[in-house]
């Protein structure tokens, strides 16, 4: 184990350095694997199951991108990141993209130099309290002890909310969701606050989910989306349009079950044809094969399917589409046209 690790890695690093340099897209193709940053474990969004296979909504996005670029939805290396390590991991090139329910904010975009390619989940920060506490509004939380996951925007939102309402609280900063859960269940804090989706996901794992309620207040806007490094526009386009392809597919009624038929030959709807590569050369423009979007959709289904399968109402997490319905259904999910 001694020097060989060092040496081996040095050679690999040297080889890597020789191949790299061009752009993330070429890197990924050369490597044959997509390095995708995800959370260390949030059921429904990204969590390894008992066999170590990653599953979840964010994981679905990673798999779609891998399928679009490499044609293989399993060619993904999932890199678990904490709130602390995620941005460095992306900035230093350890991962190619970050799909870790990360909020799109001004300073992350402008100051930290990342590009958010879109929004895959419109979220907001909420509060969860035990039912027997008898609290019905966040404004009644004066003097409460609040568990927060540290290193996220929720920490700042929380401070702002309580200051704006001129009530006091005591924060308990926690590193991971699992520990926050433990603290909350043990009663070491009265309230657990994080993104409403995360709260629902966490509550789903409780022994007695009905004993806990989510308060009606949503105190912040949390548009969550995948992000890449600034300045690599080609790669940025790939990730952005893969996400858009998933959204458009739902809008156009393309699902993982009917895609084989629809993609086999050009159909009557020109946009579907362009999306699935049976017409036009959108794939070529991206530097990808013509069936890139088809692969991406087949990886886990379209946006709606991913949603239903991982976090939708039929799952234990049970999130309604709400803001995340298609724009045609009164939601905010809207993809620019494929043209």
């Amino acid at each position: 184990m001694k020097k060989s690790v060092f040496f081996g890695a040095l050679t690999l690093a040297g080889l890597g350095a020789g191949v790299a340099a061009a752009g993330t897209l070429d890197d990924v193709k050369a490597r044959g694997k997509l390095n995708c940053g995800v959370t260390t474990g949030l059921v429904g969004f990204a969590a390894p199951d008992a066999n170590g296979k990653w599953e979840g909504f964010d994981v679905g996005v990673c798999r779609a991108v891998a399928a679009a670029v490499l044609g293989d939805a399993t060619a993904v290396e999932f890199v678990p990141t904490t709130g602390k390590t995620r941005f460095t991991a992306l900035a230093s090139g350890e991962i190619d993209m970050l799909a870790r329910n990360t909020t799109w904010t001004f300073s992350r975009d402008v100051d930290l130099k990342f590009t958010f390619v879109g929004v895959n989940y419109y979220d907001g920060q909420g509060f969860m309290v035990p039912k027997d506490l008898g609290v019905s509004s966040a404004k009644e939380l004066d003097g409460a002890t609040v568990c927060i996951q540290t290193g996220t925007t929720t920490e700042l939102n929380l401070a702002d909310f309580f200051r704006a309402n001129n009530i006091s609280y005591e924060p308990v900063p926690i590193e991971t969701n699992a520990e926050a859960q433990q603290q909350y269940l043990a009663g070491a804090c009265d309230v657990y606050t994080t993104d409403a989706s995360g709260l629902a996901a966490t509550r789903a794992t409780f022994e007695d989910p009905a004993g806990h309620v989510l308060l009606p207040e949503i105190i912040s806007k949390e548009p969550l989306g995948p992000l890449v490094r600034h300045g690599d526009n080609e790669w940025e386009d790939v990730v952005r349009w893969t996400l858009n392809a998933l959204i458009t597919a739902e809008e156009l009624g393309v699902t993982s079950t009917n895609i084989a038929d629809m993609g086999a030959a050009a159909g009557s709807n020109p946009e579907v044809n362009r999306l699935l590569g049976t017409e036009g050369n959108l794939g070529e423009m991206l530097g990808l094969p013509a069936d890139w979007a088809k692969n991406a959709i087949m990886a886990g289904g379209n946006y709606g399917e991913l949603f239903e399968k991982n976090i939708g109402e039929s799952t234990s997490i049970g999130l309604a589409r709400g803001l995340n319905a298609q724009w045609t259904d009164g939601g905010l999910i809207y993809s620019p046209p494929f043209r």
Binding site: K2, V5, G16, A50, T88, E94, A178, Q182, T205
Partner: protein, 432 residues
């Protein structure tokens, strides 16, 4: 002298009395109890208090352990069976056994590889730990790192072979040139090794790892207790030579080298390991060439090695300082140059004195490998705090998991410290 007295004596003992057994209070268990447990009233009270304490602990823990369940599939099931009784739910250990030991991503069909590497570790370590074994076994010890690397990471066998060749080549050059001058040998060896590495590194085909005999496992997939063991063994064995070099450098009369070593050692010893791990996880990437990535495992190994080598250097410096000055002067008077004096006279003695200290550093380092869980690596503690406790089935099983982790570490660390005490006793008899 009158004999009246003799007549007044009614009885004269004319045979020896057979030795009577000592009074009951002075023998066997009673004596032991009286001397060791109830010597004074205060002592007796202490004993009773201690017994009560033991009773309290056992009263809670024994039923908990022996009533434990081993076969359920989730905590909820455990609770159902126990019906509110207090007992352990050890099924989490059986259910997640592989995850605890190997992390959650190491391919299950390859578990035999780390197992073999683990067994071979004992073979490799034996000749270092026990001097009585034949010295020829050391050859295997020398080969072990390369074998273990190949076993655990898999991929092309060429990489460890080339690494080995480089070191062998360097060694040969050193042997050749060291007769003329140590410096020539030293630098010659380094240059040779690098030349071999670079030249051979270019010859290894890029896709060498693809269809290798052992499928390659990326180091990100390592986890569980295996990760702790690997970090511990790698970093201790790497930091030993670096520590010796630093200790010698600190004693050197060349001011520049001395100050480099002093600053390095004091800096590393002055900051907590966790900040160095932060450096590995969030800072170090900025210091490598752009567009290259060095994986987290390697970055962590670099930082932990730096950390432990500074501590080992201080231990060895203590050993060097403990040697009587006569040894240095004796070496000089024999006309040995610096390298020879160190190699033949000073270091063998200094290292012998420092062995207990080095073992202490090694145990401390092994315990500190749990800190990598803070930078989102899934070692044993990381697995417990992350994926296992977060899962729906096992959310809330703390004592069994933490107790298991504590037990594993205790067994290893206690074993090493017992070895160190054995060694100390042995070396002590050597001196007298």
């Amino acid at each position: 002298m009158s004999d009246t007295h003799a007549e007044t004596v009614a009885f004269v003992q004319d045979t020896t009395i057979p030795p009577a057994p000592p009074p009951a209070a002075e023998t066997g268990i009673v004596k032991w109890l009286r001397e060791n447990l109830f010597a004074t009233p205060v002592n007796g009270l202490l004993t009773i208090a201690a017994l009560y304490l033991i009773y309290l602990v056992l009263n809670v823990s024994l039923p908990w352990i022996f009533g434990g369940l081993w076969t359920t599939t989730s905590l909820a099931e455990c609770r159902e069976i126990l019906q509110g009784k207090s007992a352990a739910c050890f099924s989490v250990l059986t259910e997640r056994w592989n995850q605890l030991l190997y992390g959650f991503k190491y391919p299950a069909e390859e578990y035999w590889r780390p197992n073999v590497a683990f067994v071979l570790l004992f073979v490799a370590a034996a000749p270092v730990l026990f001097f009585d074994l034949p010295r020829k076994l050391l050859i295997f010890t020398g080969l072990y790192p390369f074998i273990a690397y190949w076993l655990i990471w898999g991929g092309s066998a060429l990489i460890p072979i080339v690494a080995l060749l480089g070191i062998l080549g360097g060694g040969l050059v050193y042997k050749q040139f060291v007769k003329t001058s140590f410096a020539a040998g030293f630098f010659g060896a380094i240059v040779t090794a690098f030349v071999i590495w670079i030249v051979a590194g270019m010859l290894i085909p890029e896709n060498a790892s693809e269809n290798a005999m052992l499928p390659a496992v990326p180091s990100r997939d390592l986890g569980g207790f295996m990760l702790n063991m690997m970090l511990g063994v790698t970093c201790v064995s790497l930091s030993l030579p670096i520590g010796i070099a630093l200790a010698l450098g600190r004693q050197s009369d060349m001011p520049l080298i001395k100050w480099i070593c002093v600053i390095f050692i004091e800096f590393i010893r002055g900051v907590p390991l966790i900040t160095l791990l932060f450096v590995a996880s969030v800072m170090l990437a900025y210091f490598f060439p752009p567009d290259s990535t060095v994986d987290l495992f390697l970055r962590v190994v670099i930082m932990i090695t730096m950390f432990s080598s500074a501590y080992i250097a201080e231990v060895i410096r203590g050993g060097l300082a403990a040697l009587p000055k006569g040894q240095y002067e004796g070496a000089d008077s024999l006309g040995l140059d610096y390298a020879q004096a160190m190699q033949l006279i000073i270091l063998p003695q200094a290292l012998k004195i420092s062995i207990p200290g080095i073992v202490n550093v090694a145990v401390g380092l092994f315990k500190d490998t749990t800190l990598v869980s803070v930078i989102s690596m899934f070692d044993l503690v990381g697995m417990i705090r992350g994926p296992i406790l977060a899962s729906t089935e096992w959310n809330g099983v703390y004592w069994e998991l933490l107790g298991f982790a504590a037990l594993l570490f205790f067994v290893v660390c206690y074993g090493i410290s017992q070895y160190s005490q054995w060694l100390e006793r042995r070396l002590a008899t050597d001196h007298r």
